[in-house]
Amino acid sequence: MEIPEQLYYTEDHEWGEMVEDGMMRVGITDYAQHELGDIVFVELVEVGTVVAKGDPIGTVESVKAVSEIYAPVDGEVFKVNGALTDTPELVNQDCYGEAWMVVLKVNDPAQVDTLMDARAYQAYVEAEAK
């Protein structure tokens, strides 16, 4: 299971990456895509949607289940990855790269520090697997 060092993580298995001045790229983790299995559908909120931490920013569907993706922090949706509509399998192939889901304009940078780092997330996933 891949858990890149430089990313932030949530308990709902989203990752966040600070890309440029106050922008966070968000997707789901390798653990999440593996647990869901083959992703067959991705639906994301519209650009401009204002979200609070924990609000849904999209839905991923596999043949097993439908799951919501939640905003890791408060912010405004700045960009969404339209490619996932036609090629949802990217989530299984490259969840930390091509299959990023949205870019959020972060309201409060201090909130980012409350997210888990790679080591904390690793421990969290191991505990959850038990």
Binding site: D38, V40, E61, V63, A65, P88
Partner: protein, 497 residues
């Protein structure tokens, strides 16, 4: 037949759609007058005539008989589809429903005794659930949920209360959040405790002034009775919130415990599950809603009333606070009549025995299988239980592989990958109608699957081998939707099936 060998292969039939078999003049019967094409075209509001296939009687009978041979139903064998309560439906209820079928709903004199039966069913359901009032009109479980949540919404409005959040434990039925959303509420999932039921202390952390209701399934989707339900009801009521119970699993407790006595304010029951009417493609369903007295004014219209002479009739003016109609005419009357026949034929002792036997059968299977498969929760269960593929997954055998292999042993698979709180869930509900011999055969088949998973795991990937259609590529199917035209022809450019 034992649970050690595969069933024989079903006949390999590629049955085309009936529309594709039709040709002008194949049906040589004279059409009855109302369906005469010249006459029907003049009827107001009929629009274009339906494109019915022109086929002979023998072709029609064979078409449906062939399709039925490709099917698997409760009359074929055990159907342990957890949460769906696929019990055998006694044929006496069909007999009785058939007798009332010729009555036209517009014939008020002929309908009077039908309304009396429906009123009788409302009373029995009220007694079984310990609730004060009932509406039979919702057409299925989720429709009942929606209707119940609309009743609660209307009640809140009536007292000028703006609260909008419904709390839903993670062990509830999957339809619950959707029903709340359609009724205009926001939903919040809350975790149940480590023991597999909602602890009052967890609920307390999530309750606030915006909590309209808690929607709980009891027993829940792990088959576990919500043992803190009394304390939960008290917390909610003190907070000014309602307790909604999804009664889809009433089969486990009817005649033993009553939701009304637990403090439930509003609930639905699934006649097609608990009260033995056909479902699962055989429908239609019926999801009556039951409420405590204070919510009665908000129930759907029309209510069944008694006129001055004591005769049963439909109220002419709906109650001003009613949420209005939720279904045309009287819901699915034939399902209600079957359910009433079921209740009367079993009686109170019989209903109780059905519930306790459903739990006994499930416990028997659980105890015989728990050494071979992972059991996620140790808490005692009632009518169903959840295993997982945790022990088999390392060898490459998943829940899906095991479900498909069960088909080769002649069983309908259990519910898979639900509830979501158990990874790789296999949710098994045998119901009370399975004889011990059939339960033993199921155990044998599961033992064989456990052995196969250890010794020759790759074999499970090839199942089903005996079904008319082999392993379906579900991922490909979900990513490449093929839509057919109403006439049954495949869209241009798409490959045939």
């Amino acid at each position: 037949m034992s649970g050690n060998e595969y069933v024989t292969r079903f006949p390999e039939v590629r049955e085309p759609l009936l529309n594709l078999k039709g040709a002008p003049g194949k049906n040589k019967r004279v059409l009855p007058a109302p369906f005469d094409t010249a006459g029907a075209a003049d009827l107001p509001g009929t629009g274009d005539l339906p494109d019915l296939p022109d086929v002979s009687e023998v072709e029609t009978v064979r078409h449906f008989t062939r399709l039925s041979r490709l099917n698997y139903g409760i009359d074929h064998g055990m159907y342990p589809l957890g949460s769906c309560t696929m019990k055998y439906n006694p044929k006496i209820t069909e007999e009785i429903a058939a007798r009332l079928a010729p009555i036209h709903p517009a014939d008020t004199a002929a309908m009077e005794p039908v309304l009396e039966r429906l009123a009788q069913l409302q009373e029995h359901l009220g007694e079984i659930c310990g609730m004060d009032a009932c509406s039979l009109w919702p057409a299925a479980g989720a429709h009942g949920e929606l209707t119940g949540m609309m009743v609660i919404s209307r009640a809140l409005k009536s007292r000028g209360d703006k609260r909008r959040t419904v709390l839903i434990p993670d062990t509830a039925h999957g339809t619950n959040p959707a029903s709340c959303t359609i009724a205009g509420f926001a939903t919040k999932a809350i975790p149940s405790g480590e023991k597999g039921y909602l602890e009052a202390s967890i609920l307390r952390q999530h309750l606030d002034r915006d909590t309209a209701a808690l929607m709980i399934t009891n027993p829940n989707t792990l088959g576990i009775f919500e043992q803190e339900i009394g304390a939960i009801a008290e917390l909610l009521h003190k907070n000014g919130s309602y307790l909604y119970m999804d009664g889809a699993n009433l089969n486990a407790i009817m005649g033993v415990a009553r939701p009304g006595d637990m403090g439930v304010d509003c609930m639905h029951v699934n006649l097609h599950k608990t009260f033995g009417t056909p479902h699962g493609g055989g429908g239609p369903g019926s999801g009556p809603v039951l409420v405590r007295q204070e919510l009665e004014p908000f129930l759907p219209a029309p209510r069944i009333v008694r006129d001055g002479s004591g005769a049963y009739a439909l109220e002419e003016e709906p109650h001003p606070e009613s949420i209005g109609k939720v279904h045309s005419c009287l819901g699915n009357v034939s399902v209600c009549i079957r359910a009433l026949a079921y209740i009367l034929s079993l009686g109170s002792r019989g209903l109780r025995e059905a519930a306790t036997t459903a739990s006994l059968n499930a416990l028997y299977l659980k105890n015989r299988l728990k050494s071979l498969f992972d059991l996620a929760y140790e808490t005692p269960t009632l009518h169903e239980f959840v295993l997982s593929d945790a022990l088999q997954k390392e060898g490459g055998v998943t829940t899906m592989d095991m479900a498909k292999t069960l088909m080769d042993f002649g069983f309908h698979p259990p519910t898979v990958y639900f509830p979501l709180v158990v990874a790789g869930a296999l949710m098994i509900e045998p119901t009370e109608t399975e004889p011990l011999e059939e339960l033993d055969r199921f155990v044998q088949a599961m033992e064989n699957i456990a052995a196969m998973s250890r010794e020759e795991p790759e074999k499970t990937h090839e199942s089903p081998r005996t079904a008319p259609v082999s392993r379906v590529d579900e991922v490909w199917a979900a990513r490449n939707l093929i839509l057919t035209w109403p006439d049954g022809r495949i869209q241009p450019g798409e490959e045939g099936i």
